[in-house]
Symmetry: C2
Subunit: 67 residues, 2 copies
């Protein structure tokens, strides 16, 4: 298991939290959004899933992953 | 038909727009959110529906109707 905290722009409300956490969950990973910090902490099994695919899932929801 | 523009607090993204416009539509009225102005313009038939019921529907979505 790997845990990475991403800086993400454009998250503003609980709907955003749900859409990001839900999209990452669909990949079989876990995400926890911190709205005030503007971060998403993802936990994933790096033998099943790549960090890039998680970033893509977040961007597909309409947000910018900064790092 | 009556048209009223309400000042609403807490709307921050397109998810908010959808939840408010959808909730008002379910009442059989029409709503148009202006995110940057922080307003919701509602159009409704005052013989079928009250402005108060529209305000309640918006508040049930988690927003504060100021006037
Ligand atoms: Cu949002
Ligand atoms: Cu929102």
């Amino acid at each position: 298991m790997q845990s990475v905290t991403l800086k993400v722009q454009g998250m503003s409300c609980n709907h955003c939290v749900n859409s990001i956490e839900g999209a990452v969950k669909q990949l079989g990973a876990n995400a926890k959004v911190d709205l005030s910090a503007g971060t998403v902490t993802v936990e994933f099994n790096e033998s099943n899933i790549t960090l890039d695919s998680i970033k893509e899932a977040i961007e597909e929801q309409g947000y910018d992953v900064i790092n």
